[in-house]
């Protein structure tokens, strides 16, 4: 038992972070917010980097890695607020030609929702009765499907939880940065216990979610994945809200990134397995 990242896993994760910093910097993010279209070149770059083919065997042109490694990459994607139907395309890498390379953008009907329907090249599931909605999240165009909710795909649930984890880690860092730099009453706001303790609770939520997500990725256990989603949803939503509180008025502006994390976290919390569905599954497992 050594429940720590291997050197290879660390390298993979930091490689993904560097790729995103280079190809999806803050200007690109804010441009995507104002014009939510998929950056196809970035998508192909992700494909080249193995983001979609990560778990395909090497003999099928894949990278031959597993769910833990995929979780690390999706954590980075979540941290960077990378838009697009990343989970659906990743899951389709084996079956849909071009998905692995990032040529084909795949989305998937997920119970009551389908994301990026207009931009995707292919939709999995029955989206005939999809009706467009004005999405709360500027980075995720949504359609509403009035179909019964399908069974959660464990891998989709887990990778979404990993994105939530990345978002929670990011808003925690944003809050801490702000608390260090912003001065009021002649000192950094982070020196006030009220702010300090908000930040401490953010870290605790994030690290508990991290342990849950990483472990669920390693075991692949359906119940453990449900637990990881539940805790990562909570962490992403609550950390974004606390981050907003720490930022005060500045956090309430469109210019601050915190609302993008909160809205995205709200969307992901509804995707693949909601908190209530996860809690029911976890209760049944007791």
């Amino acid at each position: 038992m050594d429940f720590q990242l291997t050197d290879e896993q660390r390298a993979l994760k930091s490689g993904m972070r560097e790729l995103l910093e280079a190809r999806f910097d803050r200007d690109a993010l804010r441009a995507a917010v104002e014009r939510p279209a998929l950056d196809r070149a970035l998508w192909r770059a992700l494909g080249e980097a193995g983001f979609f083919a990560l778990r395909l065997p090497e003999r099928e042109g894949g990278v031959g890695l597993g769910l833990p490694e995929a979780a690390l990459l999706f954590e980075e994607a979540g941290r960077a607020l990378l838009p697009g139907p990343l989970v659906a395309t990743h899951l389709a890498a084996r079956d849909v030609p071009g998905a692995a390379s990032g040529e084909t953008v795949v989305t998937r009907v997920d119970g009551g929702l389908v994301a990026w329907l207009d931009e995707a090249d292919l939709v999995q599931g029955d989206a005939r009765d999809a009706t467009s909605m004005r999405s709360l999240d500027p980075l995720t165009p949504l359609h509403r499907i009035h179909a019964p909710h399908a069974d959660a795909l464990p891998e989709a649930v887990l990778l979404t939880a990993a994105e939530q984890l990345g978002s929670a880690a990011c808003t925690t860092e944003l809050a801490v940065q702000h608390a260090r730099q912003r001065a009021q009453f002649g000192r950094p706001v982070g020196s006030f216990q009220a702010v300090k303790h908000l930040c401490a609770d953010m870290l605790v939520r994030t690290e508990v979610a991290r342990a849950a997500v990483y472990a669920a990725a390693v075991t692949g256990d359906r119940d453990e994945i449900a637990g990881a989603k539940l805790l990562a949803d909570e962490a992403a939503v609550r950390c974004a809200r606390d981050c907003l509180q720490v930022h005060g008025g500045m956090g309430f502006t469109w210019e601050a990134d915190v609302h993008l994390h909160l809205k995205r976290a709200w969307v992901r919390a509804e995707q693949w397995q909601s908190a209530e569905q996860a809690a029911e599954a976890l209760a049944a497992a007791l």
């Binding site: 119970g111 709360l136 999240d137 009021q184 002649g186 706001v189 609302h259 709200w266 509804e270």
Partner: protein, 387 residues
């Protein structure tokens, strides 16, 4: 403890209801949020209708042109107006609820005569220039400078979170007339000015919020000349001048909102009954809990209003207790709405989605919950200042 209303209060309520029933159909259609001139026209039209009917400045003292109504009458007014679907103060907010009362309390007779009647008639509207990018919770750290030059102050700096700046005639402005130093603590050296918004040197830049709209603006001031005669109160006494008015609302600040929240809660219950979520024990009980919560907040409002009608009450502090709980309850209400809606809560065109976003500001705006807790702990409970 009497929760029944007196005959006079009931008569006031009946007269008001009759008038609202007649007046509201006369109002033009509500403009879209982005149409600032339309909003100004709509809000001032409504203010003029109130004025003509004798309801303008209900809670203002009679000497200031108001009706000198009791806090209870004001409560009734706000309750009935909200229930009838009447507009709230809108663009008249600062004029009616802050700048006007400040001038009424601290202005000269000439200043009162110049500025108060147009506010009551809906002829002029005011905006507020208090917060600055580096002076939020720590408002007294404000740095916008005013330098005396003959009969004018020359003002340079910037303000943020100013509503209605695009269409306001006047801005109640806090400026620094004495730099902070060893001998001048930050609360000294602040002066209150009425700045005409058409003065040269003013630039207004809309400030988009996370709800996507531009309800606020930043106001940049580059050597704006404000006549000394537009100063209310003494030079360097602006902090006290401003604080005098903060207790003016006498517990009524959120009356309309609490009434509206109770209506929203009933709508949520109806929606849950309609979409089947009502069968969820946990969610149903949460709706029940919110029923208790908002009923209590309504009673706490009545409590604060009654207390403010007595002498010696400290309504500003009772307001902190109320605001701490209310801001949290309001967020809980809209989070519960999202549970009722499920995936539809992600649709900006559904009811409650934008309200959910705007509810996020309640624990921040007008004093964060952290600041409010300091106030409660230090001023009510007498805990020591310090860390």
């Amino acid at each position: 403890m009497d929760l029944t209303y007196t005959e006079e209060e009931e008569a006031f309520r009946a007269g008001l209801r009759d008038w609202l029933a007649l007046a509201l159909p006369e109002l033009p259609p509500r403009p879209v949020p982005s149409d600032w001139p339309g909003r100004r026209a709509y809000d001032t039209t409504w203010q003029r209708m109130l004025y003509d009917a004798g309801y303008a400045g209900l809670h203002w003292p009679e000497a200031a042109g108001g009706r000198g109504a009791t806090p209870t009458q004001h409560l009734i007014f706000l309750e009935e107006a909200e229930k009838a679907g009447a507009p709230y103060v809108g663009a008249n907010f600062v004029g009616l609820l802050h700048a006007g009362p400040t001038i009424a309390a601290e202005g000269t007779p000439e200043q009162r005569a110049r500025w108060l009647p147009p506010v009551l008639r809906g002829d002029e509207i005011w905006c507020q220039g208090f917060s600055e990018p580096d002076a939020g919770s720590d408002l007294a750290a404000l740095r916008t400078r005013a330098v005396r030059d003959g009969d004018d102050y020359v003002v340079t700096g910037s303000k943020i979170w100013t509503s209605h700046a695009e269409v306001a005639d006047w801005c109640e402005l806090l400026v620094r007339t004495e730099p902070i130093s060893e001998s001048v603590p930050k609360h000294r050296g602040i002066t209150w000015l009425a700045m005409p918004m058409d003065a040269p040197g003013i630039t207004v830049r809309p400030l988009r919020t996370l709800a996507g709209s531009a309800e606020f603006a930043e106001v940049f001031l580059d050597e704006v000349r404000v006549p000394v005669t537009y100063r209310v109160g003494a030079e360097n006494d602006g902090w006290r001048v401003t604080m005098v008015t903060l207790s003016f609302e006498r517990g009524t600040a959120f009356v309309g909102e609490v009434v509206a929240c109770r209506r929203t809660l009933a709508e949520l219950a109806a929606a849950a009954r309609a979409n089947g979520r009502w069968d969820d024990d946990g969610l149903r009980r949460q709706l029940g809990r919110l029923n208790a919560e908002f009923t209590a907040l309504w009673r706490l409002t009545q409590w604060n209003v009654s207390e403010s009608g007595r002498e010696g009450g400290v309504p500003g502090v009772g307001g902190s207790v109320f605001k701490l709980r209310y801001s949290h309850a309001r967020q809980e209400l809209y989070d519960t709405a999202a549970r009722v809606l499920g995936p539809d809560a992600l649709d900006l065109d559904r009811d409650w989605t934008l309200d959910r976003l705007s509810s996020l500001s309640y624990t921040i705006a007008a004093g964060t919950s952290q600041i409010q807790r300091n106030i409660v702990a230090e001023r009510i409970l007498g805990l020591p200042k310090g860390r």
